[in-house]
């Protein structure tokens, strides 16, 4: 499976465009990519979840990793997040630390 994500930084915003899945097959690779943006002044991480339909605990780990390791305690936003994904984020207690937007 391809890694299924794309990262792009514009100013203080890091946008991570996710594919259909964020799980064991690609979450570690995503964390490695996120590492490249540490201490680059990221204040907000936007996960574009338009295509995302499956997340495992390894994917949740990548979200927490972004929050903890980028530096500066960036805000986390999910765009176009499916309810099933949001339910998982709620179950593990991180929904309240994420803003959700539809675009």
């Amino acid at each position: 499976m391809e890694n299924q994500f794309e990262l792009a930084q514009e100013g203080t915003i890091l946008t991570i465009k996710l594919g259909e899945e964020l799980a064991t097959a690609n979450a570690t690779a995503l964390m490695e990519e996120i590492k490249n943006y540490c201490e680059t002044g990221v204040e907000k991480v936007v996960f574009d979840a338009t295509r995302l339909n499956y997340i495992a605990s390894s994917g949740i780990r990548a979200i927490i990793y972004a929050k903890r390791k980028l530096g500066g305690n960036p805000a986390i936003e999910f765009v176009n997040c499916a309810q099933s994904i949001r339910d998982v984020l709620k179950m593990v207690g991180i929904e309240g630390y994420i803003t959700f937007a539809s675009k």
Partner: protein, 133 residues
């Protein structure tokens, strides 16, 4: 009952998971497939990554039973003793920036499954999960 035997398992977590998910018993669990998939992923990865720290010939046996009421999946490995039911639950009330980065897999299993049991018999870890249909 479906019986699957995987050996060796080093580096094969995704292949093993794929085989389990494509069995008729699991693939036909339309309503609960997502939950079963998520939990199987956690369990298979745990066995492959941690059960046999010093061996490359480790095995994983998987038994799958499905009837009109439930799907039951039993995983057996001969690795180091590990009872996931004794693992301390992560504190999900902590602020996100103070959370452990890992440790959610077992928590998710307990949330998503209707019954979970663990036995250690004849040097095997036997973990059984059940989800009502």
């Amino acid at each position: 009952m479906r019986q699957l035997h995987f050996q060796p398992i080093t580096g094969k977590a995704l292949d093993i998971l794929d085989t389990i998910l494509h069995t008729l018993e699991v693939a036909s669990c339309k309503e609960v497939f997502g939950d079963v998939r998520m939990v199987c992923e956690e369990l298979v990865v745990n066995v492959v990554d941690y059960a046999y720290p010093d061996r490359t010939d480790g095995y994983l046996d998987v038994e799958i039973e499905k009837d009109e009421h439930a799907i039951t999946i039993r995983l057996k490995d001969g690795g180091v003793a590990f009872n996931p039911l004794e693992v301390e639950a992560p504190d999900i009330t902590k602020p996100l920036e103070e959370r452990q980065i890992g440790g959610l897999g077992i928590f998710i299993m307990l949330k998503k499954m209707d019954a979970v049991s663990y036995e250690r018999i004849d040097n095997e870890n036997i973990l059984t999960i059940k989800k009502w249909l």
